[in-house]
Symmetry: D2
């Protein structure tokens, strides 16, 4: 086999450790100040950036799969997206846990070198903003937009803008959901000699399931699943996509829907872990820095809190769980649909 | 030794497993409905309640220590409180992690038995409210007070009220901080032939450390540390206690202050982990239940969010980090104080 | 809807908290000795037993599914087993993490009540032994068999023996693998006008992939996959099952094999986490108890170490990864097989 | 303040992200092979090496403190070592958790590029070996010594040898324990008119605490604490050091011994987490690679297993817990000693 002719690979060269392990130059050392914890501060941020690169790598592979005009059922594509998004979740869990390490740096120890870093700020992490953009956070949704333009250098602004200009995973998943058959035009039910569409039936059962105090849910149901025309403009997922997403959640026990269900679930988990990261970040900043003006000139904690509350990407999908019906009340699927959702 | 005369202890009897392992009676089973996940729902809540009992046990021991009119320096008391609060943190970490298990229950699987539980709700966990009260959450600060009275049975309301009526750890720690010498009446500095008090000096250096845009911090400093008379009434820690707390944070390298520093730090960690628990809880509720009316008749997620934002107990201590000065700018302590803060 | 007629459910009654929270009676209290940590010791073991009950509940549901003479492809059965075993993994992660809480009990604090517990021992946890038996650990494989009979009371021995006498998940999964078509009698290849069976081809490519120093792997390959007749008697998975398992690992990208692959993977994860639990347990025992005779009369750490090394259940499946070939070398599947592994 | 005159610091420059984020060159890309997971493989190893650098940084600071001929009681030195070793523990926890990310790489996906990496191996991580050496693992104790010389390049061998030639933390902590007064020559007891030394008394009580079956522990006690002359040569901690360590464990409630106790405890935690890392590593290697010859030419899992069992550094300290007595049986300390162990 030809591989035997390759030059031998050595661990430290393969990993380019000369570069990686010589990229720590504390500002305190330059000033002749002893600040033993600045090394930690540098290294933890470098590991974050490495992980962000890996997350972008995975998200980019996921996006490439969804960019296909139609994703073949019998290819491992959706399987692959679930697998990669799961990995992103495991990485985000590490990112969250690393706050435990950061929190071993006390406020007093941070003060030893904090002023030397001005005006650098974690806000300037371009990769994190690219992750948000790739998932589907639009420029309009960003908290602190003006600040964003003033704090980044032009080259970095370009990078984020480019990421924002591409079709995000949110947009692509929305299209993929819209393309899903079964519950869009309901041909299956009609051909079945059944004059009620799936959603007519579902609406009826859902309505009956509500007690009087819960009736308000009905108009929400109509808004989100039925009336395509007066659908709220600010929503990112269309009514059409919502219908498919709910259908997937309801009938996930059918083989063809296993993976789509896992996909939706994993997107929600990514969202949650991103929020959790911001949330732990807030606590870390508060415990280490207090409410004083941050190294980047902003009150970091406030920015993070606003972002934690508003930078959700897939929240609309999470809301759909309010409209689920228990299995025993679900409309039975026509034989033809059951067959199409099956293994051969 | 007398221990040999005791009756032998057997694992399952010691742990009363007959009781513990026969306390799961799913409502679905009573109705003849198959709902395989109700067992998980019951057991995870039971483990939570067991942990809450343990947390109350630890907090009660901590409170007993602080109830002493004066805590002797050379007894292991503060060491013990730090140790016990650290354990509380480790338990809260488990409580947070258990959400991972809860989240394996899908919304559809929960619907199999959800309606059978009405109107029970996690909100009815008395022990959790007792933990909050023991730490220092007052009735006034509670989100959803009216609801609280309507959802609990009279016996449980009594239990929470009793916990609220005792001196909380917050109140006792505040008193303990107020009793701390050194920086209250500054006898050490005065006897030293030094006419400026510690806080006069600190104020001066702090002021000089602020850039023009940061000057707003100065009045905050005055408010929190200096002017006992017009001190904001809504604050739970007094200016006197704040001074001691800041002193501990600044001079924690002196032996006598090691443990007090760890204590303050651990109180903040308890607060953070309680918030983290509520936060994970919110996500879990949202993913599993959606925005519909919860089993307890409220939108659980909204209650949890408000509580997560407002039920902090030791937040005021966290804010003090804004007023730290770097070690190289700290006023030198008089020899006499250094000696009092030392080992023999 | 009829549910409205049910009596209202109250949180503390539903969870039977009267029982659960009144099942802690420290031996030290009975002796009038102050031992503040005995409460932790009791409660942590009670949470373990609650989780063990939940694990048994899940494993029992998994076993029921595999007990079917044939598991239909288009039912959610395998999906369900993967889901439940995943939950078992999340629970085991909690069980592992709880060691962090246990380790907050120092050896000196344990000594305050340790002698009062004799001869009780965690070894007497029947549920843990039942979990091992349900997974597939046989009596013969158990470390410390004699000890096992001497330490348990007759009723408990009966319970474990009963669990051991039922078909374990290992045995049932082996049968399920043996029933899998495609690579057992290779009808597909033969009908295809192809005289070489799948395994003839695979053997050839595998052999070519080995360098000279690796040739020893070839006879291992023959032993495990080919020669049913002189197959090693001590192995728990048959050669027939091994072939299916390897086939699943290799062609997991085909829809019908997604879930079987996840299943195998999750069984390995259960095994790993059981081992991890024993391993953390060892460290905890060593740090808390030392090498002295344990409360149960044995050197607990030694038992745990031997069990950690020998109580693996699905190890044989893990070993199969040595015989994988890279995707680009895999024999192409006949069209007919590809179709059978697809969605409709 | 002079800091305002410094050039502004920018996040990506400060962290040298140009270097860090351009140090990933997959071998598969060079060969024109698509192997999407090689990026993960590179990045996770790079984060490990960054963390190893940080651990070495912390251990080096700890070592510097212990290199002092005498560590002053009233300096924050021991406080600092505990703090830094705690941080090392938090980092090792991250290192352990990262295995969760690694395990998302399936064996089949690894095979896409595995052969291209030959003969590189994680065994070639010099920093990890330096960590082991700095803690106190000697060349003699190393598993696979010959292999070690053959797999590393001369420059790397030099680095490890240099780390091994310096005084390790184990050696320095042993010296520090040996210097501890109170229980070495027992002047306090003698001056007290008391003819029995502390250890005579302790021996007596310990002996009485043993039941008949436990009597074997007595000679172990004599060996480890009493007989300096025929002390086992293979042990790394001296009898003198053992006496101090046990004294610290027993009387840790006295202020001066709080931190020494935390120090011993944290050293044991470092040991445990190093072992846990090796253990998770083993499972990861087994699940991903199987028993075939590893990329480094060895069966990685076997090396790791042997190292996991034999590379403990502070095990002897852990063993001392077997010789603790309950608080109520402890010999009372003379007033003079109590005073010396107190705050002023």
């Amino acid at each position: 086999m030809e591989k035997k002719e390759r030059a031998p690979v050595y661990y430290s060269e393969y990993l380019q450790l000369q570069k990686i392990l010589n990229a720590q130059e504390p500002e305190s050392a330059k000033e002749g100040i002893r600040a033993d914890d600045e090394m930690l501060f540098i290294i933890i941020h470098q590991t974050y950036e490495l992980w962000f690169k890996q997350i972008l790598h995975e998200l980019s592979l996921v996006r490439d799969i969804f960019k296909q005009p139609s994703i073949p059922n019998n290819a491992p594509d959706i399987y692959n997206t679930v697998h990669r998004l799961n990995r992103v979740c495991r990485i985000l869990e590490i990112a969250v846990s690393q706050m435990n390490v950061m929190e071993t740096m006390t406020p007093l120890d941070f003060l030893d070198f904090r002023d030397l870093l001005r005006p650098a700020s974690g806000f300037q992490s371009i990769q994190f903003k690219m992750i948000e953009a790739t998932l589907g956070l639009s420029y309009d949704q960003r908290h602190g937009k003006g600040y964003y333009l003033s704090q980044l250098n032009p080259y970095d602004i370009e990078l984020v803008k480019k990421a924002e200009s591409e079709q995000s995973i949110l947009v692509l998943v929305n299209q993929w959901l819209e393309r899903m058959p079964y519950v869009q035009d309901d041909p299956y039910w009609k051909h079945n000699g059944d004059n009620n569409s799936f959603w007519d039936k579902y609406y009826e059962v859902y309505k009956n399931s509500l007690s009087e105090v819960e009736m308000a849910n009905l108009s929400a149901f109509e808004k989100l699943f039925i009336n395509d025309k007066d659908y709220p403009a600010e929503r990112r997922f269309s009514a059409q996509a919502n219908r498919s997403a709910l259908f997937i959640m309801l009938y996930r026990d059918h083989p063809l829907l296993h993976l789509p269900y896992e996909l939706l679930n994993t997107l929600l988990e990514v969202d949650e872990l991103m929020a959790m990261w911001r949330y732990r970040h807030i606590h870390m900043v508060q415990r280490t820095i207090g409410k004083r003006v941050g190294t980047g000139g902003s009150t970091g904690a406030e920015y993070l809190r606003a972002a934690a509350d508003s930078h959700y990407v897939f929240k609309e999908l999470a809301e759909l769980t309010s409209f689920l019906l228990p299995r025993n009340l679900l409309p039975a699927l026509p034989e033809k649909v059951i067959k199409e959702l099956s293994y051969n």
